[in-house]
Point group: C2
Chain length 264, copies 2
């Protein structure tokens, strides 16, 4: 299970303020605490207004100062992603994200190929998020075809089936999981990722719902998750579900996570 720490995100007010004020301590702390909690990548989203290129130059420098975990470069602007990719050098980052939208595909796919990076690919396009698992799969298939044409290996594509809140529509948990299963069974060689905490939006005790979603998704074969890694129960659910799914021989990964203090 690949963990992408989600906390440095400019849509959160405290982060936006810290980025705009160039508050190095605040951002450094978010990066180091997520690395200590087991994040494999540190998501960096500094889309807080004008000057996003300068903001990501600053933020990547801050993150690099406290952890060697590579970033997940999180922007809708190819120019921001390209500057980030240049700065990362050998520390191969994630690109977050592309979708079926032509503009993002055309702007970002060549960068992923040039820098040989894994990419989060959202199961949506210009028309928004398709309602059914089958229509989300169709979008993913189009993205995959374009990516393979462009020269990106299937294993660098991390499809996000997308998660909508179950509080608003109780079918949404199943729509997401069914989409995940279809991607795994129908698009051989690709990987999967989920920004799963959206599922619990609007409910009390969100972490209880998030942990259950993590267990169900990992059991189905989810490869990566964009989460708050300081939720130890969420990390525990991922390791436990891998053990239940049979992918963790002798429960070695679970035992290692326990001994390292990552879970429990």
């Amino acid at each position: 299970m690949i963990i992408i720490g989600e906390k440095i995100n400019g849509t959160r007010q405290a982060v936006r303020e810290a980025v705009n004020a160039r508050d190095e301590g605040f951002i450094a702390n978010l990066a180091s605490e997520q690395a200590a909690a087991g994040a494999d990548y540190i998501d960096v989203n500094v889309a807080t207004g004008d000057g996003e290129v300068e903001a990501i130059e600053w933020a990547l420098g801050v993150v690099k100062g406290v952890t060697d975990r590579p970033p997940a470069l999180d922007s809708a602007d190819p120019a921001v992603l390209e500057r980030g990719l240049e700065l990362c050098g050998e520390n191969r980052p994630f690109i977050n994200s592309i979708s079926g939208e032509a503009e993002r595909l055309e702007g970002v796919l060549p960068l992923a190929v040039k820098y040989s990076c894994p990419v989060v690919a959202l199961a949506m396009d210009e028309s928004g998020i398709p309602e059914t698992p089958e229509s989300r799969l169709a979008v993913c298939r189009r993205i995959m075809d374009r990516a393979l044409e462009a020269g990106l290996p299937a294993g660098d594509l991390y499809f996000d089936p997308l998660v909508l809140p179950v509080s608003a529509d109780c079918d949404q948990g199943r729509v997401t999981i069914d989409t995940l299963r279809l991607i795994i069974s129908e698009l051989p060689g690709v990987k999967t990722v989920m920004g799963l905490s959206n599922v619990s939006f609007g409910l009390p005790l969100r972490t209880v719902v998030n942990r259950a979603m993590m267990a169900v998704a990992v059991y189905q074969g989810l490869d990566a998750a964009i989460i708050d890694p300081s939720d130890r129960g969420l990390i525990g659910a991922a390791y436990a579900a891998e053990a239940l799914a049979g992918g963790d021989r002798y429960c070695r990964a679970y035992m290692k996570a326990f001994r390292s203090g990552l879970i429990g």
Copy 2:
């Protein structure tokens, strides 16, 4: 989700001693704390040696004194079950359990029919626990055929796919869940139950694994679980997974559990 509280079980040393000493306070406390934590049934297993009929008469009186939740009568001896059924009267208990073993089928099925009780049916027979999901299903199908012949409605059969520790064999989580799925898809009208904590035997942080198993099993359609209901995270995983599976319209059951203080 039907919760059967597992704590009054004579295989646990403290319970065995309390039963043998007729320690009313100890047993009453286990019953009332499980009822308060949300148990729908209180399992009563007093197989601690000789005199099991007298022991269950005593124990059922103690349980009845503190809660109106019906018991799950847990014994291998039909005479003990029959005495328990007589004592329960209108408070229809669970019978725990039958299996594919001829002796238990012949001794217990007529009681379940006579008293019109739901029955836990284990996916095993004289030869032990079959290794594959398909062979466990075959045992369940034989039990179902016998039960229907005897006059028990399919909806009173709660099949337990059986859970072995993943620490000893990492395929066991998937064997159990695949068996559960086969029972649900191939034996229409029956219910399912799981005594799930065995899955984590031999591992540290057992509750982390048990909660993940609960989430995965409930998402697949599990109807009932035999658990320690004082593990609030386990109850939370069950309610959350029902919401994710789409069975909880507007998350009403989840919200009710939250407001009642059963989860979180």
